[in-house]
Symmetry: C2
Subunit: 221 residues, 2 copies
């Protein structure tokens, strides 16, 4: 049972607070808006109406003893930076702060945030990669140029088994899951494929590999 504080109950903050509370942890939420506090009071351990840029408000919730404090203030960059700075000076073990712009993210790192989260940027990157390619349905960057993508199965793979295709050796990619339809019921299902799995025409596959290796498979379609 961990102790969390969430500062700012906008769309992002309220979902983080509620999610942690539902996992059975203690969650103290703070927001300047009385309406936001009332809306979330039954989804957290305690919801407090107050201005987190004031050191006495942070002290009153025992922010420096928490396992993690999440600063989820988006539009008001000054408040977000000030709150992060106060938490860092107060010796907070782990500070996760949400950034709205590149500049905001750099300031948060400089002032002591241990982790910076960027909801809009992450989702924009995922969307752009899947919109700009006819075969990619979803995309998650792992590190450097290693990617995790959901893509349609090239026609050349249909009717062949994973063992026959030997994708790890030939293309240096790993198929980790296949989204297919059940032969009897026709319902959609996801399987972790073995070497004997044979691709169907409408299948999509979740594949991990480097960008230049995945592009070779995209080009087959």
């Amino acid at each position: 049972r961990l102790q969390f504080a969430v500062i700012g109950l906008g769309r992002f903050g309220s979902r983080v607070a509620e999610g942690l509370y539902q996992q059975g942890h203690d969650v103290i939420a703070v927001d300047v808006s009385r309406e936001a506090v009332e809306e979330n009071s039954d989804r957290v351990t305690a919801a407090i109406c107050g201005d987190a840029t004031r050191p006495d408000v942070l002290a009153s919730i025992g922010a420096s003893e928490m396992d993690t404090v999440i600063v989820a203030i988006g539009d008001d960059i000054e408040a977000s930076v000030l709150v992060t700075g106060l938490l860092s000076q107060g010796g907070c073990k782990k500070i996760v702060a949400r950034a709205s712009t590149d500049l905001h993210a750099r300031i948060l790192e400089m002032i002591g945030a241990h982790e910076v989260i960027y909801p809009e940027r992450e989702m924009a990157i995922r969307l752009v990669r899947s919109l700009a390619s006819p075969t990619i349905r979803d995309y998650v960057p792992i590190e450097e140029d290693l990617e995790f993508v959901q893509m349609t199965v090239p026609p050349a793979f249909v009717g062949k088994s994973l063992g026959q295709l030997d994708l790890r050796r030939k293309y240096n990619v790993t198929v980790v899951a296949v989204h297919t339809t059940d032969a009897e019921s026709g319902a959609a299902k996801t399987v972790v494929p073995t070497a004997e799995y044979v691709f169907l025409a409408q299948d999509t596959m979740w594949v991990v590999g480097h960008r230049h290796d995945l592009e070779k498979i995209e080009a087959l379609s």
Copy 2:
């Protein structure tokens, strides 16, 4: 070279517009705010100041001929729903709309959005899963209960090779990447491991599996 329109140039919309333009596609951006239009005018093909809830504004940019239209209006739910409805009536091939709440997402689907994106919710889910567990660093839900997580390597795995551990057969999970340090330079690097890879103590691994199988590995730490 695809044709895109992006309606609404907030944090999310402006990043999607810029990302698609940088990939070499045509991007028409629309926003009611003159400031947002000026800020983005050099990052898209054309930026137009106008109210997208007016049918003549959508007609003037040829929205129904576009490959995809992205409705990136967040706070103003009525405008987002109205614009999505007008695009759907106009026969738009693909509409991707951003939702702020569960109710908003359901209305967008009912009114004709082909894909609904939820930046705050997706990122909140990822953050909650990694904060609530001592061994998980990052988490991406794939489908149903199939997950893709970055987790610390349990002490029992250190000094053993992937082939020896035989994780696919014993735990039904697939290790797709390992984040480690280079023996000579000490620099961080990510590798797609072969069966001969031997785990080091500080390694973290990206693993795909069902939630209940991954929890068995979490419990080893």
